[in-house]
């Protein structure tokens, strides 16, 4: 692999281009010195420096250069290839450069931005680029892997997000399998008594408010011919790879199997369990969560009368809301903010003041967070209606002599408070839904520090995610409105993939060398994507074969292989050695 180029200079001519990145790189690295040093290297046909290769002018510049000099291979010294590599390489590709004969060396994030000393940074950049030059000579031209996408989708989770996504995909004419773990669609929004900021109910109950049509209707989903709803169902296994996955579902009436081209994960979230924090005295019947209060409000609407507290059915007169239960404190649950609690607590407090006019309602908060349209008015209305906002954390909730007390701090007044309370409501935060970790594992997704599913880059809409998109609260706490936005944008990506029917993926996959492979099967055992199988080698033995669609190029098999038969394409031993030699050569000087 490494030695096919040196004698054929036409096929091994390199164009080397360095990017100043509008000063971000050239301020810390002497690019002229690098160009001077490297232009005399054999094979380097031309060296160029530009202000911003990713700009339109930079692209035009590269295209012109390629036409003028006709090099076969290219090395670019610029930012991380993860950021602009695709766009920079594309310009050259348009003019006939095989994209696999292109190497982008990162001299910005890992060099210019981290080394203040210009001499040392320049020396390092020189070594890195030299490594890239050595490496690019060992690369071979290839084509992308073409993957076909089946025209059907699986949506995991039947809450607001999942239903919206399913409706959108079905409207585009594709078959949707909508999977729900519980016995009904609607998720948590269905259990709400009202939504922000209109104070209408969560899902149409047709009793309380006329204009209430605010969430995708469950009926629509159930009646859509294109949507197959599976309730009480969980995923048993997922096999296959991008574009064609075989799903086995454990349903009440036995297992169900089908194939899908795309998947939307809309597993949502669950609320924090306050029994983990003894100081909240959650075992007391009159300490309830906001979710339980929603049920009390719904019950009141059905039955009429007033709100009754759980212990003795009395109408509570003093009510304390405790914010950030399980949120914003790593030691007491999670560090992240759950986004929606300030808003729903205010909504519930207003409802209680309305239902029990002589009640005193306190909300104990750290910061009131509602950067949404309509929130300030909502908050203001709550104050006008008499809801008392107390800034400070509470230290404990305790019962004594049959009475319930909240010990709180008012940091604005600088006072410690002991409030006798008839009812305490805990504004519980959000965590990833139960069972979502299993789906994360099956689909090989990554999670963030908050344990919700990681978005690949929140700035980019989903592009190459192997047909798997996470949407709604599966990615982190979100309001209903934002979850719907999310569902729609995930659905549009999924639809686009299925309409196109095929996708080209870069060929960064494992490859078995048939001469070295002994057919031991270790690679098969370690591959978590089920991408490797053993096949007959025609000589009575077996050899490993890699499925390029399933393989995600993680490289685990290359480590497990006992005979160095497994390599990642583009990262074979001679290619890595060439790179390292290039580095050492320069660094040694």
């Amino acid at each position: 692999m490494a030695d096919n180029t040196d004698n054929d200079s036409a096929k091994s001519s390199i164009g080397l281009y360095l990017c100043r990145c509008n000063g971000e790189i050239s301020k810390y690295i002497d690019l002229d010195r690098i160009a001077d040093n490297l232009k005399s290297i054999e094979n380097v046909k031309v060296v160029g420096i530009h202000d911003a290769l990713c700009s339109r002018e930079g692209q035009t510049f590269l295209k012109e250069e390629k036409e003028k000099h006709g090099f076969e291979r290219a090395v670019i010294g610029a930012c991380s290839p993860n950021i602009q590599g695709i766009i920079v390489g594309k310009a050259l590709e348009e003019k006939g450069l095989n994209k696999y004969l292109f190497e982008q060396v990162n001299i910005r994030e890992q060099c210019a931005w981290v080394h203040p000393d210009i001499d040392k940074a320049t020396a390092k950049a020189l070594a890195l680029i030299n490594g890239g030059l050595r490496r690019v000579l060992t690369l071979e031209p290839m084509e992308d892997v073409e993957i076909s996408i089946l025209p059907s989708a699986l949506v995991i989770g039947g809450g607001v997000t999942g239903m919206q996504a399913a409706l959108d995909i079905a409207a585009a004419g594709f078959k949707v399998y909508l999977l729900e773990r519980t016995e009904e669609l609607g998720g948590r929004a269905y259990k709400l008594s009202m939504t922000f900021p209109t104070h209408n109910c969560g899902i149409c109950c047709m009793q309380y408010c006329k204009e209430c049509v605010f969430t995708p209707k469950i009926e629509d989903v159930l009646q859509d011919e294109k949507i197959e709803v599976m309730l009480n169902s969980e995923i048993e296994s997922i096999e296959g790879g991008f574009g064609n996955r075989h799903i086995t579902v454990k349903a009440p009436d036995g297992p169900r199997e089908f194939d899908v081209g795309t998947i939307i994960v809309a597993t949502g979230s669950k609320t924090f369990d306050p029994s983990d924090l003894p100081e909240l005295n959650y075992s007391s019947p009159d300490v309830i969560t906001t979710v339980e209060l929603e049920q009390l409000i719904v019950k009141q609407r059905e039955k009429g009368g007033s709100i009754e507290r759980p212990s003795d059915g009395k109408v509570p007169k003093t009510i304390n809301f405790i914010q950030c239960v399980g949120s914003r404190d790593r030691a007491k649950g999670n560090l992240h903010c759950s986004l929606v609690c300030c808003t729903y607590a205010i909504g519930q407090a207003r409802e209680l003041v309305k239902l029990i006019p002589d009640a005193t309602v306190y909300i104990h908060y750290i910061d009131l967070r509602g950067p949404y349209r309509g929130f300030e008015e909502f908050y203001d209305a709550a104050k006008q209606e008499g809801v008392q906002f107390v800034r400070g954390r509470i230290s404990k909730i305790y019962s004594t002599g049959g009475k319930l007390f909240v010990r709180a701090e008012d940091t604005d007044a600088g006072a410690l408070l002991e409030i006798e309370s008839d009812l305490v409501v805990l504004s519980v935060g959000q965590e990833p839904a139960q069972g979502s970790e299993k789906i994360v594992e099956m689909l090989h997704l990554q999670t963030d520090i908050d344990e919700f599913i990681k978005d690949i880059n929140p700035m980019f809409p989903p592009e190459f995610r192997r047909g798997i998109y996470a949407a709604g609260c599966a990615q982190g706490p979100k309001g209903i409105r934002y979850s719907i936005d999310d569902a729609k944008s995930a659905a549009s990506e999924v639809i686009r993939l299925m309409r196109d029917g095929t996708v080209k993926m870069p060929r960064i996959t494992a490859k078995a060398d048939e001469f070295r492979c002994r057919g031991c099967g270790r690679c098969v055992d370690v591959c978590q994507f089920d991408a490797i199988t053993l096949i007959e080698d025609g000589k009575g033995g077996q050899i490993a074969k890699v499925d390029e669609v399933r393989c995600e190029g993680c490289g685990t098999c290359t480590v497990a292989c006992c005979n160095k038969a497994m390599t990642i394409i583009g990262y074979a031993i001679p290619q890595v050695i060439a790179n390292v030699m290039g580095l050492v050569e320069e660094a040694g000087q």
């Binding site: 301020k27 339109r56 959108d168 939504t195 969430t215 963030d448 809409p461 549009s492």
Partner: protein, 433 residues
């Protein structure tokens, strides 16, 4: 032949919507009133909470927009008229005279070097000057010059004319006239974004009175490596590196006398700018005066935690009552009270003060609403009344994304923009669930 879609406003929301629509095969006309697409995101140094380089994310998208076969750019253009109803709108686009032949201009900049007329640069928020013939910023798309007629000596007074002389491409044309382009559109997407509130309206914060009081957008430019100070953290009064910096949140927002709504992104960008400032100048000490720290989003609370723990940012819950010139010409004196405090307000001296003004629906929002005979809500945003379709306005076929519908950050704007594309396809395929 696919339907036309007109996208008004080429900030990140309009750009993303255009790209998605164009990928779906719609023929997109993207209208931008300034000479370049990019919007406010182009002015930002980094983005929260990842501190990714803003231009690095935006610039490829801008290029893709320019090169997409299904996108027609109308820069330096405004909407002149809109008539009709879904799915047959008639849109008149007023392409203003640039006095430059776009086919000839190479963007070389020879004319800029010679132009004698100096004007404060809008892109640099007035911190540096540009010429009357100018490129708004280096990464501008299209990378073509524009002559600002109001400040051009030739066009105004028939003097000078030096740019015509130096232009080797023969691109300068003082007689160029604007023109109106009429087209049909099935759907109109409004992404007119925001304007920063002019903080001189609130004299108590000292903006425009004390030299060392700057707006957050100006500070963003000061932090930017491509900005007026080359990324060196210096204050305006004497170009010295400040040691004590303070931010004031909610300047004009969450304030019943000005704008009641929360601008949604200021807590986070102030935190970001604080982290960046300490990275530029490790000795800098930062105080953020806030009302409620609204770190509402994925990774945001962790970001604030990082500012506190690793960068020593001090958060003080207060909205300062008064900002005055400190002794001499430099620095400011900030007087404030914190809740629960007794006695006199505290006065502290800072080398530089950064205001986070309210973000208002941009001035174009009002004009377009008027043309469409659409009512805006009390705060001047477009109404998006149906929660099931967060991008639908009150008029069928007019879709709203980004800041013109509600204050929101970049990821939300991008997500809405993609949603707009999906919704357009849905509307035009007759699906209207």
């Amino acid at each position: 032949m696919k339907e036309n879609v007109v996208v008004i406003g080429a900030g990140i929301a309009g750009i993303q919507a255009s790209l998605d629509l164009a990928d779906m095969g719609f023929s997109v006309h993207l209208i931008e009133k300034t000479p370049s697409i990019g919007g406010h995101m182009a002015q930002l140094d980094k983005t929260f909470p990842t501190n990714d380089c803003s231009m690095c994310i935006l610039s490829p998208k801008m290029i893709m927009c320019a090169e997409h076969e299904n996108i027609t750019l109308h820069t330096y253009s405004e909407v002149d008229s809109i008539a009709g109803d879904f799915p047959r709108f008639k849109v008149g686009i007023r392409e203003k005279a640039r006095y430059i032949d776009l086919n000839r201009c190479t963007g070389c900049g020879d004319c800029v070097a010679k132009c004698p007329s100096k004007v404060p640069s809008e892109f640099e928020e007035g911190l540096s000057i540009r010429k009357a013939i100018y490129l708004p910023f280096p990464q501008a798309v299209p990378r073509k010059m524009t002559i600002d007629a109001e400040n051009c000596r030739k066009i105004k007074d028939n003097k000078c004319g030096v740019c015509l002389k130096v232009c080797q491409a023969g691109a300068v044309d003082y007689d160029q006239k604007g023109r109106i382009v009429e087209l049909d559109a099935a759907v109109i997407v409004i992404a007119t974004g925001f304007d920063l509130m002019d903080a001189t309206a609130l004299p108590q914060f000292g903006y425009g009175i004390c030299k060392d009081v700057v707006s957050s957008m100006q500070f963003e430019r000061i932090l930017s490596a491509s900005g007026p100070t080359g990324g060196h953290l210096v204050r305006p009064s004497d170009d010295k590196e400040p040691v004590n910096l303070a931010f004031v949140q909610c300047v004009g927002s969450r304030d019943a006398k000005n704008h009641l709504y929360c601008s949604s992104v200021c807590c986070m960008y102030a935190t970001k700018e604080s982290i960046l400032a300490t990275e530029h100048a490790p000795d800098v000490k930062i105080t953020i005066f806030y009302m409620d720290m609204r770190a509402v989003g994925k990774g945001f609370q962790e970001f604030v935690q990082r500012a506190k723990k690793s960068h020593g940012v001090r958060y003080v819950r207060s909205r300062p009552a008064k900002v005055q010139q400190a002794n001499g010409d430099n620095g400011v004196l900030v007087s404030y009270e914190t809740p629960g405090m007794t006695g006199e307000p505290v006065s502290e001296e800072y080398d530089m003060l950064i205001l986070c003004p309210a973000l208002l629906p941009s001035s174009s929002t009002r004009e377009i609403a008027k043309m469409l005979d659409m009512e805006l809500d009390d705060d001047g945003f477009f109404r998006t009344p149906d929660i099931r379709y967060p991008t639908d306005s009150s008029k069928k076929g007019i879709l709203i994304c980004g800041f013109s519908g509600a204050p929101m950050d970049i990821p939300d704007s991008v997500s809405q923009a993609s949603g707009v594309a999906a919704r357009t396809a849905e509307l035009l395929s007759g699906g209207d669930r």
